[in-house]
Symmetry: C2
Subunit: 237 residues, 2 copies
Amino acid sequence: MTQPTLAVVLSSGGLDSTTVLAMAAANGYELHSLSFFYGQRHHCELRAAETVAAAMGVKTHRVARIDLQSIGGSALTDDIAVPKDRRRDPVDDGIPVTYVPARNTIFLSYALAWAEVLGAWDIFIGVNAVDYSGYPDCRPEYIQAFETLANLATKAAVEDKGRFRIHTPLIDLTKAQIIRAGTALGVDYQMTHSCYDPDPSDLACGRCDSCRLRKRGFSEAGLADPTRYTPGQHITS
Amino acid sequence: MTQPTLAVVLSSGGLDSTTVLAMAAANGYELHSLSFFYGQRHHCELRAAETVAAAMGVKTHRVARIDLQSIGGSALTDDIAVPKDRRRDPVDDGIPVTYVPARNTIFLSYALAWAEVLGAWDIFIGVNAVDYSGYPDCRPEYIQAFETLANLATKAAVEDKGRFRIHTPLIDLTKAQIIRAGTALGVDYQMTHSCYDPDPSDLACGRCDSCRLRKRGFSEAGLADPTRYTPGQHITS
């Protein structure tokens, strides 16, 4: 019997990372998914991540509790309002207040640590440089710099046992292409959560950048949007 | 009145990072120190870090509680014995079990996040490539890679407001040189804690790699070692 190839997949319970899980599974990786509780106001995404892990046959799913609130500086963790119905396109409007300082660097650092402990060399992250919100830590040059760092940072790499790779299968896809690819792989997007500012019943607001990109993606993909929105928010886009 | 230049300094309460604080202060930086509770068995170092912060005139000191125990893989966080009285020199003996996977990457990521929120561009870390324990994330090429990453990862850098710098003033110094430099700047090393495996009264074991390097440093510097060791451990080296 051959040993499975292990992958650590950053999973937020959202549309993008769930598609990444499906892609890694389709490529034969044994999945180990990692989520973070970092004081985000939309922490219901963690329940979505657990549901996703169970549905996708993830071998181990971990939630690391990390302290980003004491650092602050973002609408996702601070008392800063999440922007709604922004007049400009979320894709063209610069870096928004929902940017969390160094978030992907922190997430990837943990993924790297866990990968080293598990003996995995492959780390997957659902960053996307097309239909994205302007976050600097979603760009290919950033990912390349992290991969370089990973192979200098670790005992496993320095002892020349292998080479870490940061996989970003969504990086050149539009949201519509992501949704089509995931749908083709059998992903049920109803179990995923993308909204930054859900209502008390965890229904999506339909108006934040994340909801707007998601809605537009389903629309452009020509697929029904299974997202559960706060009543009255399903139609607008 | 000119604005002070802010520095984020990673502070473990140990000998090296306390010397770094003194050096940054001597260079006129306003100090903001960051420590981590990561489930380390030697968490009494956090009390030392608080004492140090108060003594060194640090403007803000933060302790981020982060979850490395769930990742495991190190004698500092797991049920793996801390090596004592190793026959070979700690400096020449490869990467030891006290290595914590990706620890400096995680620490620097948090420092970067906090620096961005504070508006600081200068991050100090007390890594050392001479009298060190063989950790890959203490080498100059690793630090350089992190600096490159920092300037791609962040909103502040991408919007071209400045450039992050990772300062490693100890990187080329021996432990004896570090101790001499700190002593010249008035550091009282009695308030610092280096031992990986202190006794229940928080006295240093005198036998782990960290204690042995520290002892040898004082000896080579020709200075009295103010460390409080478990009785009977002061003489051996």
